[in-house]
């Protein structure tokens, strides 16, 4: 069909379609396969997919996927960090960051390390009980270069939208592979190790003292919290509206890094194709994830694994991999000496509806 002219309405409709301009995955915090809340946290953990919350000598926290969102923006979820034990006297190495790590092969169009390097603009909605200066840092992991900028939370307990542009970097290209090349960090706490220099307000060889100069101490009171949603990082110097993706598309992008199997229904069999055990000790199930994962994943099991055959569950098994772990398929084993099950063609499954297998090829 021939097109005579492009109307402004048609152009607007066209530009509002998803085009994957957001480098961040799950910026609306809608996916949380690992769980919606973690409490008593003093180290590293995650709720919302792709986002790492990492604390060192920075109080105790509950993190969660929250339904507190900015009004009228279209978001249904946010990430929340709530301080439950304060630390008002930070050590030099104290640090608290909310971070995402991005594969180099997704960043080649930014032309980093060339004279045509693209600027990057990050936009997000943020809210906190503690006002003041906060730091956003982007780090080129391949070339150990960093760029930090500050933003201000002006009104307590009020959603504010922030936009920050980082100039392009003509030094150091991103690797074109499945390893992580770019780190995006939202600082929430930083000790003097990270604040004693001059804030790196342009690309520079990464220096710890310059990363988070001016950062408030969000851990200084149990009244403090921090919400964020609608995080978008895109090429160029202008922030466009947040790119909402269909639920299934967003989930598929997350599944590349984390795949939770089970925990949602009464019969979460590991292997619909049939399992097998021999008379010795091992049963196994073949797993094919919905999308290829970034790398061969690690496996954790939340709960108990049982072996099922002919409507009978056999308990007391330990679990693990057996050989053949790749990004698109792998075997999970259940082991038990002298198990007493003599027939073949068994299945592995979760013991209860809340149990699940979690496969991770994340960067943390």
């Amino acid at each position: 069909m021939a097109i005579d002219k492009v109307t402004s309405a048609a152009l607007e409709t066209s530009t509002n379609q998803p085009n994957f301009r957001n480098i961040i995955i799950n910026g609306d915090m809608s996916q949380a396969q690992r769980g919606t809340s973690v409490s008593s946290l003093t180290g590293t953990d995650a709720t919302c997919d792709r986002w790492r919350f990492a604390a060192t000598s920075a109080g105790t926290w509950t993190i969660s996927q929250s339904t507190t969102v900015p009004t009228g923006e279209g978001f249904a979820t946010s990430f929340k960090a709530d301080c439950t034990t304060a630390n008002g006297s930070l050590s030099a190495g104290s640090i608290l960051r909310f971070s995402q790590f991005i594969e180099g092969q997704n960043l080649q169009y930014l032309k980093k390390g060339t004279s045509s390097a693209e600027s990057l603009t990050i936009s997000f909605h943020v809210r906190s009980a503690k006002t003041g200066t906060y730091i956003v840092n982007i780090k080129d992991r391949d070339n150990t270069r960093s760029f930090s900028q500050s933003y201000t939370i002006s009104s307590a307990d009020t959603w504010e939208k922030k936009t920050i542009t980082f100039d392009g970097d003509t030094t150091g290209a991103f690797g074109n592979d499945n390893d992580w090349s770019l780190e995006v960090h939202f600082y929430l706490v930083a000790g003097t190790t990270y604040t004693s220099g001059t804030l790196a307000t342009a690309w520079e060889s990464s220096t710890s003292a310059n990363l988070a100069v001016g950062q408030v101490n969000l851990a200084d009171s149990t009244s403090n919290d921090w919400y964020v949603t609608g995080i978008q990082l895109e090429a160029g110097s202008v922030a466009s509206d947040f790119e909402f993706l269909p639920h299934d598309v967003n989930k598929e992008r997350c599944l590349r890094y984390c795949f939770k199997h089970g925990g949602e229904a009464s019969t979460q069999y590991l292997n619909a194709q049939g399992g097998y055990y021999d008379a010795n000790y091992i049963a196994f199930g073949l797993v094919s994830p919905p999308v290829p994962m970034r790398s061969a994943p690690s496996l954790t099991v939340n709960g108990t694994v049982i072996v099922h055959r002919l409507n009978t569950d056999y308990t007391g098994w330990t679990w693990g991999f057996i050989s053949g772990v790749q990004s698109q398929s792998w075997f999970v084993s259940a082991n038990k000496s002298s198990h007493g099950v003599t027939a073949q063609h068994s299945l592995i499954k979760c013991a209860t509806t809340s149990d699940f297998f979690l496969y991770s090829s994340e960067f943390f």
Binding site: G43, T44, D45, N178, D179, I282, R294, S295, A296, P297, S298, L299, T300, V301, N302, W319, G320, F321, I322, S323, V325, W330, S333, S360, S361, E362, F363, F364
Partner: protein, 56 residues
């Protein structure tokens, strides 16, 4: 991060690491250099820690 790491064998072949984490969880880690947990294990070993190896 790690409390204990053990090599797991099948048919005399070293096939994965079984780890006990500080949060009490257990994790199986494949022998894949692109896996970040595998990388963390190599770092843990380089820091002088010892992996349990009971052979096959």
């Amino acid at each position: 991060m790690f409390i204990e790491i053990k090599k797991i064998y099948l048919n005399n072949e070293f096939i994965y690491y079984h780890c006990i984490l500080q949060n009490g969880k257990q994790m199986a880690v494949p022998l894949d250099e692109a896996n970040s947990d595998y990388q963390a294990i190599q770092q843990w070993i380089s820091e002088g820690n010892t992996v349990i190896d009971n052979g096959n």
